[in-house]
């Protein structure tokens, strides 16, 4: 009996499972779903680079190459964003645009975790607008979690998986990033 799949009703994880079983064509649905998101993420993360389309294409190729390492019981988006993060970091290193610290003291000590529900609703929309306007003024260290949280809609745990950082450090970076932006805004007014 033929199994007819309604691909567009399927979750990312179900589609990834089909790709793992050899249904190569369905990988295109994942590219469609995440193409624009990753391009936006790359633009915010890498600022004004010309090779963003090539980098995003490379991310999908790496995702396809390594799709068998994906566990379908876990969420697909943090796994894909992790590949994108690595690809973009490598791109930065190649061009040596920004210094990347080897060791970050924020990851050393535990920090009290502020709940991400505090930024829900109207306040989150306002901060999102500010993030879009003032993002380029921030260090990559603070820029990336802000993009992932406010623009890409990932939660603390998912960002922690993408950046491979403690959840509390993600909270600290988001808080500091917002404070820095507030400072820039106050200075420019």
């Amino acid at each position: 009996m033929d199994i007819i799949h309604d691909y567009y009703a399927m979750t990312d994880e179900e589609i990834a499972g089909l790709v793992q079983q050899g249904d190569t064509e369905t990988f295109g649905i994942l590219v469609e779903r995440y193409g624009d998101k990753l391009t936006r993420y790359a633009r915010k993360f890498l600022a004004n680079r010309e090779d963003i389309e090539d980098l995003v294409q490379e991310v999908f190729m790496k995702a396809y190459t390594n799709i068998q390492s994906f566990t379908t019981s876990r969420k697909f988006s943090p796994w894909l964003y992790r590949i994108a993060h690595n690809e973009f970091i490598n791109a930065i290193k190649k061009k040596r645009w920004e210094p990347l610290p080897f060791f970050d003291p924020d990851t050393l000590f535990p920090h009290p975790l502020s709940q991400d529900v505090a930024d829900r609703g109207l306040m989150k929309r306002e901060v999102k607008e500010l993030v879009e306007q003032h993002l380029n003024k921030l260090d990559a260290k603070y820029r990336e979690p802000l993009v992932l949280y406010y623009l890409e809609g990932l939660d603390y745990t998912e960002i922690s998986e993408v950046l491979q950082l403690p959840v509390s450090t993600v909270g600290v970076r988001l808080k500091r990033g917002k404070e820095m932006m507030k400072k820039y805004i106050t200075e420019t007014l």
Binding site: E25, V31, M61, P110, E161, Q164, L165
Partner: protein, 251 residues
Amino acid sequence: MTESLRDKVLSSIKNGKVRMRPRWHFILKTALAISGGIILTLALLYLVSFIFFVLRVNGVWFVPVFGFYGVRTFFVSLPWLLIITSLIFILILETLVRHYSFAYRQPLLYSILGILILVIIGGFVVAQAPFHKKLMIRAQENRLPVTGPFYREFGMHRFRDIHPGIIASTTDDGFILRTRHGEMLTIMMASETRLPFGYNFIEGDGVVVFGERDDDSVKARGIVEVTNEMYHTPFLKRGNPPMMRPSFPPF
């Protein structure tokens, strides 16, 4: 944009430019990482237990009971080369486990402390087992080809002011100590000699004497009795028959 991206990615897959790595590749990679982690952990346990072992056989472990000078001598006499090597191993292990969610979700301090506590407790437990003692005896008898020099270098280290050994005979103001190197040292006790666990020594007892050596005699700052069988190595067992336990201290 997304459609052209989709077409580009799919055409790269179809023309074989991009190939999916098989599942066994990742299973093998994970297996290698786990094996590496296990080997590194075992090496760390071995190293840390060896540190505890050499501290005990060299008598360094016991000197902090002799007050400020004892604590100072303890830190000066620590096998720093082995400790630094262990710390490097801990950093490598931390780097290895940092890629896994159970490690990176916690602050770095927690995972480093976790590894430290694990290897210190594990190393202490292994050091109590006869494992190192057996290897040490084999090394002394030149029957340990690879790690023999390692055991002889660290396990038979001579210190200027720490003298572990066995009481060969008692004298009016102390006793004659047979060291692990087969030397005979005259130990002189005085009223200021510290005896944290009292004086109840007889010939054949294992002791650690703390005090600076002058030729073949030592003016003891402190003495502590130890029940460490390593001081009774086959070489040192060839001693005089034990004397009667003295009924009172010799001062």
